[in-house]
Amino acid sequence: MTRTLKFFEALREAQDLCMAKDRSVYVAGLGVPDPKGIFGTTLGLKEKYGSQRVLDMPLSENAMTGVATGSALVGMRPIITHQRLDFAILAMEQIVNQAAKWHYMFGGKGRVPLVIRMIIGRGWGQGPQHSQSLQSWFAHVPGLRVVMPTTAHDAKGLLISSIEDDNPVVFLEHRWLYGIADEVPEGLYRVPLGKARVVRPGTDVTLVATSYMMLEALRAAEVLRDSGINAEVIDLRSLRPLDEDTILTSVRKTGRLVVADTGWKLFGASGEIVALVAEKAFRDLKSTPARVALPDLPTPTSPALSDHFYPRSGEIAAAALAMFGRECPRSLFDAPKGRRLDQPDSSFTGPF
């Protein structure tokens, strides 16, 4: 008996099941118990588990990350939620200097089972300070895990794995995925951290994508199919640990690589994956790898500008077509029918 849940419902169910199973799990974050419940992901949890375990917090991101870390050191399993990744920047000291390093710098004494949920997104005027995809910052730091689910199924399984993991996990949720439904099994199940997923098998070019960009990569694969190119699409799911095997196995087969990331191109996750392939599978490459990621500028607010900021399936398909010396039809970059570019689908209305 299959059942579908939306991405946000899957996240809520993961937390619900973990809280029911383990009394040491608690959820804290600005707005967690409020009527909107972090876009629905924490709705009902306070009623079920009480305000001691499902709590709002002061606007003290850095200290609250330390509080969560301290409680984790003595056996609690906190989940901290930031409604925008940009707010978590205030907690970088505690995340990078303390939580990430605690286990190592004390020679294995002390563990920090901590999940830090951060919401990323695009469009609808999110602008310079409400939209940043800084996964490469976190992925740069030894001791952290960095997880980016794309499907509702993976969102639930990865969040359960993250809560049960004994390390600090940065869990990045893309706002444009929240309303997308998927088959989601009931009960506890785990999607392992550090395992990418081949979403669409193919033979001619490997499209490695993170988070929402995986959906754009799937659309690009459809375009490429129409041009006789069979693309393999990989949903990275975790940046750290990085599933090198799945990426290298695919590129060794296809000989071509396009990486699509929600973050900036310069010094970003996409460059890391290209470097991995260059170092370990260079001789298998048939053409120069390509990155499809954000241009080197802050996020503009106006849709008239942001329409030219966020890459889409067209850029991914164009990068792959170029590897085959194919023409790139202008129609690749047409706006999708029935929606503006600053919304995930026509049903979406602001505010975020």
Binding site: V67, N97, R111
Partner: protein, 337 residues
Amino acid sequence: MTTGPALARTPSAAGDVALRLYRDMLRIRMVEERIAALYPEQEMRCPVHLCIGQEAVATGVCATLEPRDYAFSGHRSHGHYLAKGGDLKAMMAEIYCKATGCAGGKGGSMHLIDLDAGFLGSTPIVGSTIPIGVGTAFASAMRGEDRVSVVFFGDGAAEAGVFYESLNFAALKKLPVIFVCENNLYSVYSPLAVRQPEGRSIAGIARAVGIDGAEGDGNDAEFVHRASVEAVRKARAGGGPSFLEFSTYRWREHCGPEFDNHIGYRTEQEYLEWKNQCPLERLRQKLLDGGKASRGSLDSMAQQLDVEIEAAVRFAKESPFPEPSDIGMHITAEARR
């Protein structure tokens, strides 16, 4: 048994408190003097921040705690670690960066830990263990455990944003945490006067946030002890956090074994005035005057400590360094289940 807690960790009989405080302070003083003497050998390959002159705060506070209580500190943490019952050999070995060190050589002097003693860690980003200590108190409160968390930090921490954030949350949730501020007037070479407005006490900031406590002479171990007894009592009774600010003075340089009064950031005169208020000498005189100890008994106490310290130094020096293969261990915690 030459290592282990300074004295029994059970509350001392009333008459023993002063003697215990003196012994704990003397132990810290002698350990650090030994570190200062050995440091020029260049075998301790990490920075050391000595607390000589400030021993009364660590001992006065920790003498009121149980092993089940938690303590955290910052870069100048030898005294807090030892007073809380941290293993001396493991600390010495850590300062010598050896595999037998309390952090396996991964931390050094600024990263001390002894879980059995309830010393949960010291880290050298000023102010950063304050929220972590609030976090252990939060866990204790959620679980209804009878534990007190103590965080030691200096005057500079009060300038960090996380200080306010942490106090606010502790006050909000009435957590069993004691904030212990050792105000030694300097952050490295920067005097308080260039960092905080004149006439405002750090304890005053805490009161404004909603946390009462005490402030006063941090070189009077018995005063520190009395203030801490009250704070611990309040925390255990569910009365919430306390803030203790103690005035004291670091005798030696900010980092390293030398004296640095000649380099121009403070005066020899100021140093001598504080040295004249030595916490050990003051209590020693009191013990002798009150007939609680004799010169002979205190000499013999020092001799015993010397034996313990020499054994710890020997242990540290003779211990092996970590294996090169240890470099990749403990980056992330492996699953236990």
